[in-house]
């Protein structure tokens, strides 16, 4: 059909814009960002991450209080007041859930249909969604990491090690960066899981297993095996990315590679699932 054989030549079939690939990608990202901002689940999950931060900080405050009342011998045995352990895993889970919902909420409500009709190139859609999930993960991760590490530094004050993991507050900065990278990674991996599993419930269970349950059960393994497994688990990448004192095996560069491999595997799985399977 051409515009000339119609009765309304000015509208029907005329002047179809042929934008550049970069422009199309930018618009797809902007649309995905809008989608994320216009559902209440996003804010509910951010509130959950905020609540988890408060709970974790309360636990740290109690530990500090206990430290103050402990004997010198007891003090030598206390755990470090480190938000990497007390706060960030749950924050990563809730923020990661936002990443998962970028796909699963659309499969769950059927809005994947209009989404794919608007952006039918599936890899482009995946790239746009992954960009948004990672950006949301990075922003929220940075926010909650900054908040929890700042509060932890204030709570610990000038108390000594082992309660205080940082000789100076500036030593917490690499930890904030490491924690932010971990939340970003978790969010991107969760998006990939969501694209493969499609169901919100299944994806959140898998995500919970990956970032909360498996790290806990890894402790039950024999020491040598535990360290090898624990060193590549996403939550444990935070201290390894920051360098400094930790029991794990990877250098900061090695940890960065591990994070990249997690994201590549998850998004690779998502690509295959989206390419091969029928939508809706």
């Amino acid at each position: 059909m051409t515009a000339t054989d119609t009765t309304t030549t000015d509208t029907v079939g005329s002047a179809i814009p042929s934008p550049s690939r970069a422009r199309v990608f930018r618009d797809a990202v902007a649309a995905e960002w809008l989608k994320l901002r216009t559902v209440r689940t996003t804010y509910a999950l951010l509130a959950c991450a905020g609540a988890a931060t408060l709970v974790g900080l309360t636990v740290l405050a109690l530990a500090v209080q206990e430290f103050d009342h402990a004997t010198a011998a007891e003090r030598a045995d206390v755990e470090a007041a480190d938000p990497t352990v007390a706060v960030m895993p749950l924050v990563a889970f809730f923020v990661g859930s936002i990443g998962a919902m970028v796909f699963t909420s659309e499969f769950g409500t059927g809005s994947i249909g209009p989404g794919l009709l608007a952006v039918p190139r599936r890899r482009l859609l995946l790239a746009a969604k992954a960009t948004v999930a990672a950006a949301a993960g990075a922003l929220a991760g940075l926010l909650f990491a900054l908040l929890s590490f700042a509060c932890a530094v204030l709570l610990v004050g000038n108390r000594p090690a082992p309660l205080n993991p940082w000789p100076a507050w500036t030593d917490a900065i690499p930890m904030v960066a490491g924690a932010t990278v971990v939340v970003t990674t978790t969010s991107a991996v969760a998006l990939g899981l969501g694209a493969v599993l499609r169901s919100t419930a299944a994806t959140l269970v898998a995500l919970g297993a990956l970032v909360l349950v498996v790290p806990m059960f890894a402790h039950a393994l024999p020491a040598a095996l535990h360290l090898r497994l624990a060193s590549i688990l996403i939550p444990n990448l935070a201290p390894q990315l920051a360098g400094g004192d930790h029991p794990y095996l990877l250098s900061p560069a090695g940890a960065a590679v591990a994070a990249a491999v997690w994201v590549l595997v998850a998004l690779g799985g998502a690509t295959v699932a989206l390419d091969r399977r029928d939508a809706t």
Partner: protein, 306 residues
């Protein structure tokens, strides 16, 4: 223009589409008809790149849908009334879709106005009635002012006013020169809306014709009344017609048209008191055509009771 060539789709052992081929022209409303499970939705989903065909291809204006960069400017589609996130408002739903295709917010307001949802633009879709959600789907389809519009069962669950609105909307879209394809399993609805019909059953094309052509296909007979039925019956039989009494004093003649009957009766000086050509309704033609092709059918009531 939509062209579908040799489209085949297999879901495991089930053959949903079997070498389906057809073309849809601009400027008319084309109805895509078939009983439940005939493959209408599958075909539409493949045309729109949502499902992958096992074989064959579907092109819109010469290109597969999945290769389009800004598809909403070329094709508008409504597949499922429940396809908007219930937590978003109508306006948010449309703005998200519009943004992905570089369409401005002004156009969102315009289509909401066009489908009569302007007043509820800022209410959540979860609280919408089925009719409102159908209108929202059509608003989304119209966002990019597309030359091709596809709708899957748009009249499903709508009240009379909603159905009339959809009918007039589609007719005016076609009158503007757009290609309009809509699916339905109801011939009654299609007979009022469509200018051209594609009938499918069990994944195969059964008919590609106008409603008038389909009606003409119906087996016709003629009801004849005469005070001398026995003579008339002999006469008609000699013309090659099969004649049966209708039980109420009239004859039903098949295989010969009313004009021939009238001429022959006049020539033989047999008076006629009634001469009524009878055609099947479009609905009857459709049921007859798809009778063998219906995938799932209820048993007639008597058979079921046995």
């Amino acid at each position: 223009m939509i062209s579908v060539r040799g489209l085949t789709k297999r879901y495991g052992p089930t053959l949903a589409l079997d070498k389906l081929s057809f073309e849809v022209r601009p400027g008319v409303v084309t109805g895509f008809l078939g009983p439940n499970g005939a493959g209408k939705s599958t075909a539409l989903r493949i045309i729109l790149g949502l499902h992958h065909p096992t074989a064959g291809e579907a092109l819109i204006r010469g290109r597969p849908y999945a290769r389009m960069r800004r598809p909403m400017h070329e094709v508008g589609a409504v597949l499922d009334a429940d396809a908007a996130h219930p937590g978003r408002t109508a306006a948010q739903h449309l703005v998200c879709l519009a943004r992905s295709n570089g369409i401005g917010r002004g156009r969102v307001a315009a289509v909401l106005e066009q489908v009569g949802l302007a007043e509820v633009a800022h209410r959540r879709v979860g609280g919408f009635s089925l009719g409102m959600r159908q209108r929202l789907g059509i608003a989304a389809a119209l966002l990019g002012d597309p030359a091709v519009v596809l709708l899957d069962e748009p009249a499903n669950g709508l009240d009379a006013a909603g159905i009339r609105w959809i009918r007039s909307t589609l007719r005016s879209l076609a009158a503007q020169g757009r290609t309009v394809l809509l699916s339905s399993h109801l011939m009654g609805e299609m007979a009022l809306t469509a200018d051209h019909l594609l009938v499918i059953g069990r994944g195969r094309l059964i008919a590609d014709a106008s409603p008038a052509q389909l009606r003409a296909r119906a087996e016709r007979d003629v009801l004849v009344r005469s005070p001398r039925p026995a003579e008339l019956a002999r006469l008609l039989t000699s013309l090659g017609a099969s004649v049966t009494p209708d039980g109420a004093g009239a004859l039903v003649a098949a295989g010969v048209d009313a004009a021939a009957i009238g001429d022959a009766a006049a020539a033989a000086a047999i008076p006629l008191h009634g001469l009524t050509p009878r055609g099947a309704t479009l609905e009857e033609v459709y049921l007859e055509m798809t009778g063998d092709a219906a995938g799932y059918r209820a048993l007639p009531e008597e058979a079921a009771r046995r």
